[in-house]
Symmetry: C2
Subunit: 365 residues, 2 copies
C-alpha cells in the first residue's frame, strides 16, 4: 500500500486522463469544453471567476468558446479570504438571483479557491448542480482540480466544510499559466514535488533536474496522473489518499497562521514547502527517512522557496491549528510521513513535542 505504480504513463500524446466518471483534458482543452457544452443539455451557464481570472483568463475562454452570449459571470475577490462561508453565501445568492435551476452548469475559472468554493457551492445548490473546472493556476491544475474534494473555510480553518463531489470534467489549458507571476508558479510546484516525494522517486529526480520556473505540460500531466491514480484507489481518503497530506499537517497550520498574521501572507506552496521540510525531519526521526534524503529534500526546498520567520509564531497557536486538522482522530495529531523518497507511510501519530521539534528543525536551518 505504500507505493503507487507510476511508470506506465504515456506523455508523448497527452490523452485525456480518466478519473472518477469524468475526464481531465489536456490537448485542445478549451475546444473540448466547447464540445462538452454543445453535447450537454444545460439550461443556463454560469462562470465563477475572481477579479484576476476575469481580467486575464475570461477573454481567452470566451473567445475559444465562440463568444457565447448566454453566460452569466459571478466574480469574487481574489485570495484565500474568498473561501470563507460568507463568500459562499454570496455565490449561492447570486445563483438564486440569476434564476439558476437544477439544469444549470457552473464553470469554475480560476485557482484552487475558485474550484474549491465553486465546487462546494454547486454541489449543494438545490442539492447539487453540475460543475466543471477550468483551472488557471499551476497549483489548481496539479492539485485542487483533481480528486473531487470541495471545501470552504470558517474562521480561517481551511476546508472545514465541504463535500466529496466529482466535477463533470476538468479542462487543463497551459496557455493560462503564461499570465501567472513566478511566485504563483512555484506555489504549484510544491505539490508537484510532493507527488514525487510520496510516490515516485524518478519523478522527483526529473523535477530536481528541471527548470521549475518554466514548468512543462509534460510535467503537469505526470503530476495529475499521479494524483489521479491515488484518488481513484481511495476516493474518500480512507487510506492511501492520505499520502497526499504529506507536508500538510504542519503546512496548513503555518498557512493559517500566516493568513491571519501577515500582510503579505505565504502562498499555499510556500507554506507546504515549510510543512514538507518539518515533516521530512519527522520522517527522519520516526519512519526511517535517511539523513541524506532529509538533507536532499531540505536543500531542494530551501533553494526554491524564500525563508520564513517561523520563530515569531506562537507554538501553542500552531499546535491548536494542527489539532483542528480534519485528519486527526480522538484529538491526536496524525501525519503522513516518508520512509524514503518516493515512499509514504500514513497514520503516524505525532506528539506535541515531536511536532515542535519538527518546527525547530526548520527555524534552525
Amino acid at each position: 500500500m505504500n507505493t503507487v505504480d507510476t511508470d506506465t504513463y504515456t506523455i508523448d500524446i497527452m490523452d485525456a486522463i480518466k478519473s472518477n466518471n469524468y475526464n481531465i483534458y489536456f490537448e485542445d482543452s478549451l475546444g473540448e469544453l466547447k464540445q462538452f457544452i454543445a453535447n450537454g443539455r444545460y439550461s443556463r451557464f454560469f462562470v465563477l471567476t475572481d477579479e484576476n481570472t476575469a481580467k486575464y483568463c475570461l477573454p481567452l475562454l470566451r473567445e475559444r468558446l465562440g463568444n457565447p452570449d448566454n453566460f452569466d459571470i459571478i466574480e469574487i475577490n481574489a485570495g484565500e479570504e474568498s473561501k470563507d462561508i460568507d463568500f459562499c453565501i454570496g455565490v449561492w445568492k447570486m445563483l438564486i438571483d440569476f434564476g439558476a435551476d437544477r439544469q444549470s452548469l457552473l464553470i469554475n475559472l480560476g485557482g484552487g479557491v475558485i474550484s474549491d468554493l465553486g465546487g462546494f457551492a454547486a454541489s449543494t445548490f438545490k442539492r447539487g448542480i453540475d460543475f466543471v473546472h477550468v483551472p488557471t493556476t499551476l497549483l489548481s491544475q496539479v492539485d485542487a482540480s483533481v480528486g473531487g474534494k470541495t471545501g470552504i473555510d470558517i474562521d480561517s480553518i481551511k476546508n472545514i466544510i465541504g463535500t466529496f463531489t466529482q466535477p463533470k470534467a476538468v479542462f487543463i489549458e497551459d496557455e493560462f499559466l503564461k499570465t501567472l507571476p513566478a511566485r504563483q508558479i512555484l506555489s504549484g510546484t510544491a505539490e508537484m514535488l510532493k507527488h514525487g516525494l510520496i510516490c515516485d522517486a524518478d519523478y522527483w529526480n526529473e523535477l530536481k533536474a528541471s527548470d521549475l520556473s518554466n514548468t512543462t505540460a509534460g510535467l503537469i500531466y505526470k503530476s495529475v496522473a499521479i494524483k489521479n491514480k491515488v484518488v481513484l484507489e481511495d476516493p474518500h481518503e480512507k487510506n492511501i489518499r492520505k499520502s497526499l497530506n504529506f507536508g500538510h499537517t504542519i503546512g496548513h497550520a503555518v498557512e493559517t497562521y500566516s493568513l491571519i498574521n501577515d500582510k503579505d501572507s505565504l502562498s499555499h506552496g510556500e507554506a507546504i514547502a515549510i510543512g514538507m521540510i518539518c515533516e521530512a525531519y519527522l520522517s527522519y526521526k520516526k519512519t526511517g527517512l535517511s539523513a541524506e534524503e532529509l538533507q536532499e529534500i531540505t536543500q531542494v526546498l530551501t533553494n526554491l522557496y524564500p525563508g520564513y520567520n517561523l520563530k515569531a509564531a506562537n507554538n501553542d497557536t500552531l499546535l491548536e491549528y494542527m489539532l483542528k486538522d480534519k485528519k486527526n482522530q480522538n484529538g491526536k495529531i496524525n501525519c503522513t510521513l516518508l520512509s524514503a523518497i518516493g515512499q509514504f507511510t500514513i497514520d503516524n501519530i505525532c506528539t506535541d513535542e515531536e511536532l515542535l521539534e519538527g518546527l525547530s528543525y526548520y527555524t534552525n536551518l
Copy 2:
C-alpha cells in the same frame, strides 16, 4: 411509471424497513439505537436538539440509552427560522469548538428542521460525518427522516441549499408523539394523506376513515413504506420521486409567504394542505382528475385544516416564490398533479394564469 405498488406491506410485525443502505427501525427503536451505538466505532457523540426536544424528548432518549455521559448537546431554537444558513454556521462552529472529528456521530433529535439542518451540517462537516435521525414529530417521522434529502434555507427560500446524503439509520419511536400538540400531529397527517393521493387509493380511504388526531403506529409504518419505496426507485428525483412534490409547488410558496408575513405562521402541513387543494384543482383542469374526486379531496382537507386568508397575499409574490422552486426548468413552473386519487403525473408545466386559477379555487371555497 405512474403508480407504485404498495399492497405488499406487512404491518402486523413492524420489521425494520430497508432503505438506501440503512434501516428505519420501529419496534423498540431506542433499544436499536443503543445497539447501533454499541456496535459503532465512533469517537464522539453529538445530539442536535431544539429547546422543545431538549425538554420533552432528550430525557427519554438519555434514559433509554442508559444515561451516557459522553454525549455533547447542541441546542438550537425551535422553528423553521433555525434552518437558516446562519444557524447552520452556528452548528458547524459548535462542532469545531467541541473538537468533533471525522469519526463523530451526530444524532438528530427533533422534527424536520433538526433532521434537514443536522443532516446538512453533518454531510458537509469535514466533508461528511455520520448522522442518524431520531424524528420526534409525526411530520419528520413520515417525511423528513426518509429519503436522504438534507437542506437549509437562505432568505426564507426553503431547502435551497442541501445534499442527497443518507443517514446511517433512522429510529422512529411513537412514544415521542404523545408530547405533541394536535396541530403538529395534523401537520404530519398532510404528508400521509399525500402518500395516499399520489400512490395508494386504499391507503387514502383508510386514512379518511381513521381518527387522524390519534394516528396509529401502523399508519405511520405504511406511510414510511410508501415514501421509502418511491425514493428507493428514484433517489435523486429524476422521475417518480417527483410524485412526492404533489401540493408542494403552491404549498411551499404559501408556506414561505406565511413564514414571512404571519405572526402565527402556517404549519408545513397546513400550507401543503392548501397546496394540495389548489393542485387538485389544476389536476382537474389539466390531467383528468374527476370533479367528484376534486370534491372529495377538497372536503377531506378543508374539514381537517383551518381556513387561511390567501386573498391577503400578493399573487405576484406567490408566483415569484414558485419561480424559485427547485423543481422548475428554464424558468417554467413544474407541478406534480393527479390523474386520479392514487395516481400521479409529473412534469406538468403550469402557466401563471393556471396557477392563479388554482389559488382562486382555494380562496373562493
